[in-house]
Symmetry: C2
Subunit: 155 residues, 2 copies
């Protein structure tokens, strides 16, 4: 019984380990921030043409979307580690990350998971080539970006 | 016959389009360079722990290697676009890319493909969990990094 409790507890701790703020920064905080910015840069690079397609600024290209969506999902999975403890604005310059990321951890983690979930759904629907469904799911994914940036990114 | 020739020619041109220097830079060259550096940053982030494992500095972790190798392969596929025309040191500051990338294109493309091929092989063998095979393939992949950096990256 005690062992079982310990296992549940350990599971909880390990579970928390996948959350953004459960990571300890390895190496220099600056390197982690650079990594974080690289992930977001690649997300942005792939998001931009999908956004232009969603707005009808450029023709819809199912093959391109499938590739972009794959990168966005991959990057979304890598993000939490890049928000390791000690990589906020108190530790490094040139970060747009707000300190609330490491204080309102439950809210941040929810928003991070919202993005990861919608990005995964986008990658999935992108494989179908269904323009209408893809554009709808792109919109949902973009909303999760905005929601998190509004709360946790400096203007 | 003429049509067939035209198709072969078009195939050649399209084929060249996937080469590093076949891309035209869209948007600002600075953005492309930032994207390029982001890709390399993520490659480095994932390469580092694999290197430490290869040297025996940290314990071998098959699950981690599988994840790292997946990111390295994904980034390797994205690299060529980031070496678009007009994104060399004559156009942007703060790049370690040598101008030879855009003059010795055949050599650069060969080296890029060497890396892509070995990174793909690493991702494949990483799924096996076979430590010896993985470490051997990691070594091969690292060699392709070095070969390209030696020829085409500033010290």
């Amino acid at each position: 019984m005690r062992k079982q409790f310990a296992m549940v507890l350990a599971g909880g701790i390990l579970g928390a380990g996948i959350l953004a703020t459960g990571y300890a920064a390895e190496g220099k905080p600056e390197d982690t921030v650079k990594y974080r910015q690289s992930l977001y840069n690649i997300i942005g690079w792939n998001f931009k043409p999908m956004g232009a397609m969603a707005k009808g600024e450029i023709p819809f290209d199912a093959t391109a979307v499938a590739r972009h969506a794959q990168y966005v999902e991959m990057m979304s999975k890598a993000l939490p580690e890049s928000f390791a403890q000690g990589t906020g604005p108190d530790a490094v310059k040139n970060t747009e990350a707000k300190p609330e990321i490491w204080t309102k951890t439950a809210e941040f983690d929810t928003k991070m998971k919202d993005f990861q979930r919608e990005a995964a759904a986008l990658n999935e629907v992108a494989k179908s080539g269904d323009e209408k469904a893809i554009k709808a799911q792109f919109g949902k994914t973009a909303e999760t970006c905005k929601a998190c940036h509004k709360a946790f990114r400096k203007d």
